[in-house]
């Protein structure tokens, strides 16, 4: 098993290497070159040449790539053009919020989606089944930001059950360690801070969960229905096993394979999808920052973001493969 993990981690290297080349080429091919990105359309020829020299753009391409890789390996993503701060620092401050939101959304989507999809399949044709199939269709259709506005209007502005914006009540004066607010609260034993941060995550988490939830309900239902018609489920029943054993050991374990794949794909997509939800709830994650970076052509920031998303995707993929091998002995490598 350990060899399997190490091998998969080694397989990451060529993937990331390929990605770095793509990014490098993209940077050189910017309209007007990187100097335009920095100077904008204005700027004299001398200024441009100056910047090219500063960035080392007048050196041979291989030397440039070597230097680029060197910085990448040191996790040095350069300086943001608009905020003039280290990109790495900016990310360390903002990414934790987005990750917390994504994780919350995934926990909601998985925790509700799998049981609901399972029940819908077991009670096929029942009211519950029709409701969850119909509901999931709505979940896929309704735009996330719209749902976010509705949730905010109903549950925080009218019913005052949840906070309407931000990641934490500043009057709590919580200690910061990792910038994962819930985690910080737990580490410092400031329970009220942890709970407050969690409370701030619920509504945006639900909004963000809607699409993955709908997809997980559907894929679970389809997958369980397929497994239900398998001979080994009938064998399990013929042994007189309890409903619980049949459900967990014989149905869900086999039905999990396609579900895990979909969960992996969804999680990767969520990170980038969190942006709109963050905007509605004034949630200081990566969203607003990224939006500005795009409009300002802040290439170091965009590049760093792409790199991080890529690494994230690859890691999620690794996790999916890993759970696959845990679930199904036939894909396990000796």
């Amino acid at each position: 098993m350990i060899r399997f993990i190490v091998r998969r981690l080694l397989q990451l290297i060529p993937t990331l290497f390929g990605l770095s080349i793509l990014l490098f080429i993209w940077l050189r091919r910017l309209p007007g070159g990187p100097e335009t990105a920095i100077l904008g359309e204005r700027g004299t020829a001398e200024m441009r040449a100056q910047i090219r020299a500063n960035l080392g753009l007048d050196e041979p391409i291989l030397v440039q790539y070597g230097r680029f890789m060197q910085r990448m390996l040191k996790l040095d993503l350069g300086t943001s053009i608009s905020t003039k701060r280290e990109v790495t620092t900016e990310f360390l401050e903002r990414f934790p919020g987005t990750v917390e939101l994504t994780v919350t959304a995934m926990i909601i989507a998985i925790g509700v989606g799998i049981p609901l999809g399972y029940l819908a399949a077991r009670k096929r044709g029942s009211l519950l089944d029709s409701l969850s199939v119909g509901g999931s269709l709505i979940g896929i259709c309704v735009p996330v930001f719209f749902l976010a506005y509705v949730l905010k209007a109903v549950f925080s502005e009218n019913l005052h059950l949840f906070p309407s914006s931000g990641r934490q009540d500043p009057t709590i004066g919580a200690t910061r360690i990792t910038n994962f607010f819930v985690l910080d609260g737990l580490m410092t034993r400031e329970w009220d801070a942890a709970l407050d941060a969690l409370w701030h995550l619920i509504l945006p988490g639900i909004a963000l969960a809607s699409i993955p939830l709908a997809i997980i309900v559907r894929i679970t239902r389809a997958s369980v229905l397929e497994v239900l018609s398998e001979d080994y489920v009938r064998t399990a029943q013929s042994k007189g096993l309890t409903e619980r054993t049949i459900r967990s050991r014989h149905i869900l374990r086999n039905a999990m394979l396609p579900i895990v794949t979909v969960i992996g794909l969804l999680t990767g997509g969520l990170l980038s999808g969190a942006v709109l939800t963050e905007t509605v709830f004034a949630f200081s994650g990566i969203g607003a920052f990224l939006y500005e970076a795009i409009s300002n052509r802040d290439y170091p920031v965009l590049m760093g973001f792409i790199m991080i998303i890529a690494i994230f995707y690859v890691l999620v993929n690794l996790l999916v493969d890993f759970s696959y091998s845990l679930i199904d002995p036939r894909v396990r490598v000796r």
């Binding site: 001979d231 080994y232 007189g240 096993l241 054993t245 014989h250 036939r330």
Partner: protein
């Protein structure tokens, strides 16, 4: 009192927009303790539906209707609620299915699939369950059982898989074992081994066996009594010897004729039954076999023939039976 007494079992499937299928139609038979009873018939004649009905494993949904009774001791298997059925299944009545590969859970080790029955019905856990599982695999002739327990179904051969399934079925020494074409998916040599194993287990433990098959060769080798099914009905039922020596129904005769025999003359043609059972479903008026029967007379296409029994308890459903000795319907 017989161990199992099936009376007038009928199962119909009706779906919206489709014709109602009467898969089993008034089937009655009895199984004495320790006896081997055969249910024989072509594909689609209702063998599997009969066995699933007895196990309470037919889909529980609108459109599936089950009638009749199946007394197992004091309990009617057809009227028992799901909760009590779960206690009976695997403990008192166990089942072996046709395709050993698809009947085993591919992602769970063989060992767990064996011990889960022991845990459920005999309360064995941990080392005790493991020991018993090794014992069981040994009994069904799986070599190196401790290692096999850790393996997954895809690592076993077809014959080994069926042996493992048999081990699970006999784990709680059931009073009745239902085997639904247990050898159909296996090689001929393996088939013989599995049949031998079943015969041995039944003899040693006194378990009664319902042997479902389309192969009269299997029946000849191990059954005490034989019921021949056609289109959801028992059309002939007798002890093994009289059935083979003196088949009365033209269909049974046809089945016997379509088995190649060593003592048949060289160049003698095999007798095949025309058409297939599906051609005539659903059950028409009169004898369901009439459209394919070489001995059809006018009376065959009015009323469905009643089951008549001769003095040797040899019963058949035919108005113009094959006859060597004239019989008086009782």
């Amino acid at each position: 009192m017989p161990l199992l007494d099936v009376k007038d079992l009928s199962v119909t499937f009706s779906r919206r927009g489709q014709r109602t299928v009467r898969a089993v139609d008034g089937v009655s038979f009895a199984v004495e303790a320790g006896e081997v009873v055969g249910l024989v018939g072509e594909s689609g004649c209702g063998k599997s539906v009969t066995s699933l009905a007895l196990m309470g494993l037919l889909p529980k949904q609108k459109g599936v209707t089950i009638g009749g009774s199946a007394m197992f001791g004091d309990t009617d298997l057809l009227q028992t609620d799901e909760r009590s059925m779960r206690d009976i299944r695997g403990r008192d009545v166990a089942m072996i299915f046709q395709d050993p590969l698809s009947s085993l859970n591919p992602v769970v080790p063989i060992g767990i699939q064996v011990t889960e029955v022991l845990t459920r019905h005999r309360g064995l856990t941990g080392e005790a369950a493991r020991k018993e599982a090794v014992e069981l695999l040994n009994r069904v002739g799986i070599p190196d059982p401790s290692r096999r327990l850790k393996e997954y179904p895809h690592q076993l051969s077809g014959g080994m898989r069926q042996r493992a399934l048999i081990a699970m079925a006999v784990a709680c020494a059931p009073k009745l074992l239902i085997a639904d074409e247990p050898t159909t998916a296996l090689d001929v040599t393996i088939q013989a081994q599995i049949l031998e194993l079943l015969r041995e287990l039944v003899r040693e433990s006194g378990t009664a066996l319902i042997m479902i098959t389309h192969d009269l060769g299997v029946v000849a080798g191990m059954c005490d009594k034989v019921n021949v099914l056609y289109a959801g009905r028992v059309i002939e039922s007798a002890r093994r010897k009289p059935l083979f020596a003196d088949p009365r129904h033209p269909y049974t005769n046809g089945l016997l004729g379509s088995v190649p025999r060593l003592d048949s003359g060289k160049g003698e043609r095999l007798h095949a039954i025309r058409g297939s059972v599906r051609d005539v479903l659903p059950w028409p008026d009169g004898c369901a076999f009439a459209p394919r029967c070489d001995q059809r007379v006018e009376a065959c296409v009015g009323e469905p023939p009643a089951l008549v029994e001769d003095i040797h308890r040899h019963a058949y459903r035919c108005v113009n039976p094959e006859s060597r000795t004239a019989e008086v319907p009782s």
